[in-house]
Amino acid sequence: MLPQEATQLIGKAGETVILEVEKGAIKKFADAIGDRNPLYWDEEYARNSRYGSIVAPPGFFGWPTKWKRAMPFFSELRQEVIDTITKAGYSRVLDGGIEFDFFQPVRAGDTLASVPRVASIQERETKSGKMILSIVETTYTNQNGDIVAKAHQTLIHR
């Protein structure tokens, strides 16, 4: 049985975080991957491409405009989910993977609003015992009001 404290979190939305997609941050992100695609680096090349400007590699959404002790795909809401499930006796947390839907390119100079929401919390029986899967959905919307992407991140609690 899922603890009630956990089921009550389903559907809950977290704080909106504003993210700035800065050109230099895109470059550093692409460099860390080892991706030399000129769309991420070369202003002139990108201007003449179908995008008309430097774009971010899919999955990069910039950095928060206000200081936050946060990691990508990690929010206070995510922490609340972890804490609640930990209290219920599932203290080991594993990364269960991520899923993206990409709708629009993210461009250098964009400002994105990201909103996390608890999409689901489910209990599973496995050979090695019970576990809980929690999924937080994050929606990214740009300054024009277009949803650019959604991310679903799964954590496995055992």
Binding site: F29, P58, G97
Partner: protein, 156 residues
């Protein structure tokens, strides 16, 4: 800047191979990734901390492996293609090479990002393919696995 090769939907069949992408994970790459992505978990750069977490030594960030697979698809579909859907799960740990000098990693493992087309179809006005994608370590073991849906340029 040289133009990249453009893939067309008509050139792809079910079971076609996604052009493989080799990657070498090094401690330096992990440091860069931490700074560029904002994931400063010491699991990925501190020996004692990694050991205390039961993984022995610092491991490659799952999100870095995810980013490699995104590059695999972006490189393959070319500039006119769109990555629509992407997912991956982490199945096993990967351990980066240590550095030989300021720029070069020591000899060691090379990872290969790979993929295969599982379905080819038209949806609305988009020419799509679905792919299985994965990363193999130096022993050809799959450590990361996922799926991608892309819309490709069509000659039609």
């Amino acid at each position: 800047m040289k133009m990249k090769k453009q893939l067309f939907w008509e050139d792809v069949e079910e079971r076609s191979e996604v052009t493989p992408l080799p990657k070498v994970a090094s401690r330096q790459m992990l440091v860069k990734w931490a700074g560029a992505s904002g994931d400063f978990n010491p699991l990925h750069y501190e020996d004692a901390f990694a050991d205390s977490q039961g993984v022995g030594k610092p491991i490659v960030h799952g999100q870095l492996k995810r980013a490699w697979l995104v590059q695999l698809m972006s490189d393959w579909i070319g500039e006119q293609g769109n990555l629509k859907k992407f997912s991956c799960q982490f199945r096993a740990m990967d351990y980066p090479r240590l550095m030989k000098d300021m720029f070069e990693p020591q000899e060691g493992e090379t990872w290969w990002c790979k993929g295969k087309v599982t379905k080819k179809y038209v949806e609305g006005d988009e020419h799509c393919v679905d792919c299985d994608i994965w990363i193999e370590n130096g022993k050809s073991e799959v450590t990361t696995r996922g799926n991608a849906t892309v819309a490709l340029l069509s000659r039609g």
